[in-house]
C-alpha cells in the first residue's frame, strides 16, 4: 500500500472555486509533479545548464552527464538498455517518429536496411478502434500518403477490443500493428501477448502506445514482446515537453530519421548526410535537457514507490470509481467494471443519461473536482458507442480513496441538479 503522498505534490495543496480544496482527478490527461521533479529541473538550470554533446567545457560535460543519466533512469523504469531510449517532445511525437520514419523509408530513405519499414499499395497498416488520436491519425495519414490500406481491430458494444477474428484483421500483408497498452477511456489493459503473437506470425512490426500504462503499471519491454513503445513524461509525474520512444536497437538503427538537424549526424556535406546510431540519430537540435532531467527524476520517484505498489494502489481507486459509478442509477460506465480478471486502470469514464458531459463536469468543478469532459481524443471510439463525449475521473499515486468517493458522491447528485428524472 502506498503512503499518503500528497505532501510531495505542492499543487494539490491549493484551493479552487470559493476556497474549496482541490480533488484532482484528471491525471489521465496530465499528472501533477512531485517536488523532486521540480527541484531536479530547477537545480539543472541553476547549476549545470549547458549544451549537451556539443562542447568540451565543464558545463557541457555536466549537462551531458545529467542528460544521459536521466536516460538511464527512464530506461530502467521500462527494463530497457539506455541506448534504446530516444527522447522525444512527447508521446505523440514518439508515435509520429515511427510513422514518419516509415514514410521516409517508403520514399526511399535508409537504403536496404530500411526495407522492413517500407509500406505501399498492397500493404496493410493495422490499428484499433479504441485508439487515442495520437496513435490513430499518424497511421491513417501514413496510409493516405503511401497508398497502404488502413484496417483496425474493432471493439464490441462494451468498448472492448474483439480479438476473436484477429487473423482476418492482421492479414499476411500487414506491415505494422499499432495499438494501445491501455485505453484512456475504458482503462482496459490490452491483451498484448495475443496481438503481438499474431503480428509476429505475419512479420509485422508492433508499436505500443504506453501513455497510460507506463505511469501506472509495471512495464518491461522484454516481457511485452513489442518492437516500439511510446510514452510521455507529463503523465508519469514528469515535466511537460518530453516523452520517450523505446525501440529494439536493430530497428532504431535502421529506421530513417524524419526530423533533421545538428548533433544527430556524422558527416554532412551540402548534398548528403550521415546519421549517427540511435538514440542520437533521432535527437536533432538542442535537446529538451532540463525536461529529460525532470523525467529521469520522475522515473526514480516511481521506482522508489515500486510500480507493483502503484498498480495495487490504483486498482483500489479503480474499484471505488468503477463499482461506484456502475451502481448509480442513470449512469453508464464505459467499459467493463473490471476487477474480475479484466485489468483496468484507476479511471472511470461515465455518461449521465440526459445530462451532457460539459454540464456534468461543471457540477463536479463547482465542488472542486477536476474531471475531464469530452471525447478524450478518442472520437471514433465514442462514436462507436453512440456518444460524442463522456466525463472521466482518473487517478495517480497521490489520489486518495476520499478523492474517489467525492467523485461518486458528486456524480450521484448530477441528475437531480438538472432535474432529470427519467
Amino acid at each position: 500500500m502506498l503512503p499518503d503522498l500528497r505532501d510531495d505534490f505542492p499543487l494539490l495543496a491549493r484551493t479552487v472555486r470559493n476556497g474549496r480544496s482541490l480533488v484532482y482527478l484528471d491525471s489521465g490527461a496530465t499528472a501533477q509533479k512531485p517536488l523532486v521533479v521540480l527541484e531536479a529541473e530547477d537545480r539543472f538550470y541553476r547549476e549545470h545548464n549547458g549544451a549537451v554533446a556539443r562542447g568540451a567545457h565543464i558545463l557541457a560535460e555536466e549537462a551531458t552527464e545529467a542528460f544521459e543519466s536521466a536516460r538511464e533512469d527512464v530506461a530502467r523504469l521500462v527494463g530497457a538498455p539506455a541506448e534504446e531510449i530516444v527522447w522525444t517532445p512527447g508521446a505523440t511525437a514518439a508515435l509520429n517518429l515511427v510513422a514518419n520514419g516509415m514514410l521516409q523509408a517508403s520514399l526511399g530513405a535508409g537504403g536496404p536496411a530500411a526495407d522492413r519499414f517500407r509500406v505501399g499499395p498492397g500493404d496493410r497498416i493495422v490499428i484499433t478502434e479504441v485508439e487515442h488520436h495520437a496513435n490513430l491519425i499518424p497511421w491513417q495519414q501514413l496510409a493516405a500518403r503511401t497508398g497502404a490500406e488502413l484496417a483496425w481491430i474493432p471493439v464490441d458494444d462494451a468498448g472492448v477490443m474483439v480479438l476473436d477474428d484477429l487473423a482476418s484483421v492482421i492479414t499476411g500483408n500487414t506491415r505494422v500493428v499499432a495499438f494501445t497498452h491501455a485505453s484512456n477511456v475504458t482503462g482496459v489493459v490490452s491483451d498484448v501477448a495475443t496481438i503481438t503473437a499474431r503480428a509476429r506470425e505475419v512479420g509485422a512490426l508492433t508499436v505500443l502506445d504506453g501513455c497510460q500504462s507506463v505511469p501506472h503499471l509495471p512495464v518491461n519491454v522484454a516481457d511485452l514482446g513489442v518492437d516500439f513503445l511510446a510514452f510521455s513524461g507529463h503523465k508519469m509525474l514528469g515535466p511537460t515537453g518530453i516523452g520517450a520512444l523505446w525501440g529494439r536497437s536493430d530497428l532504431l538503427n535502421a529506421l530513417p530519421p524524419s526530423q533533421f538537424g545538428g548533433s544527430a549526424i556524422t558527416v554532412v556535406t551540402m548534398e548528403t548526410t550521415g546519421f549517427l546510431d540511435a538514440p542520437q540519430r533521432f535527437e536533432p537540435g538542442t535537446q529538451p535537457v532540463a525536461q529529460a532531467v525532470g523525467m529521469g527524476a520522475a522515473a526514480r520517484y516511481l521506482m522508489g514507490l515500486g510500480m507493483d505498489r502503484v498498480a495495487e494502489h490504483e486498482a483500489r481507486i479503480a474499484r471505488i470509481l468503477r463499482e461506484g459509478a456502475a451502481a448509480l442509477p442513470g449512469v453508464r460506465l464505459l467499459g467493463p467494471v473490471g476487477g474480475d480478471g479484466t485489468a483496468v486502470l484507476g479511471l472511470a469514464a461515465v455518461v449521465v443519461e440526459g445530462v451532457h458531459a460539459h454540464d456534468v463536469g461543471q457540477v463536479l468543478d463547482d465542488r472542486g473536482i477536476t474531471a475531464r469532459v469530452g471525447h478524450h481524443c478518442a472520437q471514433p471510439f465514442h462514436r462507436r458507442l453512440g456518444l460524442t463525449g463522456s466525463t472521466r475521473a482518473s487517478a495517480h499515486v497521490y489520489t486518495t480513496e476520499d478523492d474517489a468517493h467525492a467523485f461518486i458522491e458528486a456524480l450521484a447528485g448530477v441528475r437531480e441538479f438538472f432535474g432529470v428524472t427519467v
Partner: protein
C-alpha cells in the same frame, strides 16, 4: 445562490429543456443563409438557418446537440431575434459577446435591455472554457446572417439587372 446556480439560472434550464425554434425546417425568404458550427473541444454542434426579408430577420431555424448552455443559448437567441430588425440583431450579437467577455460582471442597462433573457448567461462568462458553448449558436447566427444578407442583395441586384 452558488456560482453553479448563477450559471444554470432557471431560465437557462427551461430553455435547455424546451428549446425554441428547434427543427431544421425549410426557410423561404428574400435571402437565406445556413451555418454549421462545431465546438471541437467537446463535439457540440449546431446548424442554423436564417431568413432575411428587407430589414428584418424573418425566420430562424436550427438543429443541434450539446450541453445545456449551448442549447439554451441558441433557443434564447432564436426567441430573441426572430422578427427583429437587422440592426437590433447585430447589436444584440455584439452585446452577447460583450457579456461573455465581462467575466461575470454586469453590463450597462442599455445592453441588458437588448439582451433580455440572454442576460441569464452572465454566469457563463466566469468560465472561459464554457464561453465557447454559449457562443456556438451566436457564431452560427452571425455567419448565416452574412450569407442571408448577401443572398438578398444578390437577388435584388439580379432583379435590377
Amino acid at each position: 445562490m452558488s456560482t453553479l446556480e448563477q450559471m444554470y439560472q432557471q431560465v437557462i434550464m427551461d430553455h435547455a429543456r424546451e428549446a425554441h425554434g428547434r427543427g431544421l425546417i425549410e426557410i423561404t425568404a428574400a435571402g437565406t443563409g445556413e451555418s454549421h458550427q462545431l465546438n471541437t473541444t467537446c463535439g457540440d454542434e449546431v446548424t442554423l438557418r436564417v431568413g432575411v426579408d428587407g430589414d428584418t430577420v424573418s425566420a430562424i431555424a436550427w438543429e443541434g446537440q450539446g450541453c445545456s448552455i449551448s442549447q439554451a443559448s441558441i433557443s434564447v437567441l432564436s426567441e430573441l431575434l426572430e422578427g427583429e430588425s437587422l440592426e437590433t440583431a447585430d447589436a444584440t450579437v455584439e452585446a452577447f459577446r460583450a457579456l461573455m467577455q465581462a467575466k461575470g460582471e454586469h453590463l450597462d442597462d442599455e445592453t441588458e435591455d437588448l439582451l433580455g433573457d440572454a442576460t441569464a448567461f452572465v454566469g457563463v462568462g466566469k468560465y472561459p472554457a464554457r464561453i465557447k458553448c454559449a457562443l456556438l449558436g451566436w457564431m452560427a447566427f452571425r455567419d448565416a446572417l452574412i450569407q442571408a444578407r448577401g443572398a438578398q442583395s444578390a437577388a435584388v441586384e439580379g432583379g435590377q439587372a
